[in-house]
């Protein structure tokens, strides 16, 4: 099978359309990724080619929302990299959240919500959930709605459960979800304390006084220009001494931010903002 392949000129035209019609600027997304996602949308919606895509998206706001959701890559699973979540459970959360009031945790791109629910479940198990406020941003309204309702892909149940067992060997993740027919739902009371923010590519308005930011494997879809812009905002949002967690194969040095942070756990990419 030969997939439809988007050329460079077509890609530029699409980026321009999204900018002109919706004021969303995708030019600093990683090109390979952007192309691949648009190709996928063209294929899944039988749009034939770039022209078909442009015609559809120009006139169809609902379709634009579907496209935005497509640009937010789903988290692969709950508790991805269980060893990180063990560090949260055994060290970071007990040490920092125990005596805190309104400890703010920000998910700059919450996408399909697994990072948010994973964090909420750890805090609930530690009985620290009342000390925390979650802030979850996304460029996708559809993802925000889905996350609020706690809907997730039941095909991931097996890997989710296995990851959870690596953190809490004595308990069951199924205490926190229900599956009816093919619908899987998280217990939404876990995220009662969450403020959702729908945002454009880069934030117009962003939260302040954040103590911990979980932003793993999202900036990999941006080029370095956009990554550096995000890092500036993140720096301003985070309180001195606050934690930033990025993906295993991301590195703050790449964004000229190494002077701003101390790497406190290399394996899990946990950084701490310097005090001054």
């Amino acid at each position: 099978m030969n997939r439809y392949e988007l050329g460079i000129v077509d890609t530029r035209n699409i980026i321009k359309t999204l900018q002109d019609v919706y004021n969303y600027d995708f030019k600093n997304y990683a090109l390979t990724f952007f192309k691949r996602r648009v190709e996928r949308v063209i294929l899944n919606h039988n749009l034939k080619d770039a022209e078909g895509f442009i015609n559809k998206i120009e006139n169809d706001r609902a379709f634009f929302e579907i496209f935005l959701q497509e640009m937010c890559v789903e988290n692969t699973e709950m508790f991805r990299d269980p060893s990180l979540w063990r560090v949260f459970k055994e060290d970071i959360f007990p040490k920092n959240v125990q005596d805190a009031v309104n400890f703010k945790i920000w998910f700059p791109e919450v996408s399909s919500g697994e990072e948010l629910y994973s964090t909420a479940i750890i805090l609930k198990k530690l009985n620290l959930h009342k000390n925390v406020q979650f802030i979850a941003s996304s460029i996708s309204e559809l993802d925000i709605e889905k996350t609020k309702k706690g809907i997730f892909d039941s095909k991931k149940t097996e890997v989710n459960d296995a990851n959870f067992k690596r953190i809490f060997s004595e308990s069951e993740l199924s205490d926190f979800y229900t599956i009816e027919n093919d619908n899987a739902h998280w217990d939404t009371s876990l995220i009662e304390n969450t403020k959702f923010i729908k945002q454009n590519i880069i934030f117009d308005d962003y939260p302040k006084g954040i103590k911990l930011i979980l932003f793993r494997n999202q900036m990999i879809y941006y080029n370095q220009i956009l990554q550096e812009r995000f890092m500036k905002i993140i720096y301003n949002c985070l309180v001195p001494g606050g934690h930033l967690i990025i993906g295993n194969n991301e590195k703050v040095e790449y964004w000229n931010s190494d002077k701003d942070y101390t790497l406190i756990n290399k394996t899990e990419s946990i950084y701490k903002k310097k005090l001054s």
Binding site: M1, A30, L31, T32, F33, R36, V73, E74, N75, T76, R80, D81, P82, S83, N217, M219, I220, Y221, N223, Q224, Q227, G247, N248, N249, E250, K251, Y254, T267
Partner: protein, 185 residues
Amino acid sequence: MYKAVVIGGSAGSFQVITKILSSLPKNFPLPVLLCLHRLKHVRSGFVEALSIKSTIPILEPYDKETIKPGKGYLAPSNYHMYVELNKRIALSTEEPVNHSRPSIDLTFETAAQAYRDKLVGIILSGANRDGAYGLKKLKQSGGLAIVQDPNECQVKTMTEASLKQTTVDHIFTTEQIISFLLKLK
């Protein structure tokens, strides 16, 4: 004249890869992109295992790392590894392709877009069909397509699937792959 080598392998490819990496000269003039199927929950150990015998440094790249000659770039566990047009690595956690993340198809396809006819692609032993589409794209972009001789493979599904989709330039044994690579400048 070539600018990069991309290698895909799965079941039965570890020893072949080790042999290849131990036979390259220290100053091998091209980058080697490695997409090998691996256990997703075992994050560490693989790059170390490959490094023991390799003459060139093997690393799991960071996102947007610049690709340099004489180094081996191993796709990290549970990530796809792409090559951007500006010859940097881009990682991705998008859904698995052919049940695989990393997917050989995606590494080959994006490397082909970045390196066009300056790319050598090699498919080794493996138990699924990943890589067949990627090798086809590589060939269509003018790259040189090599498949390990299925008769030599521990598991021949992957090489046979590739041969079915693409008229390759060479079907080589491990020894032939090595002597071919040694001639690259």
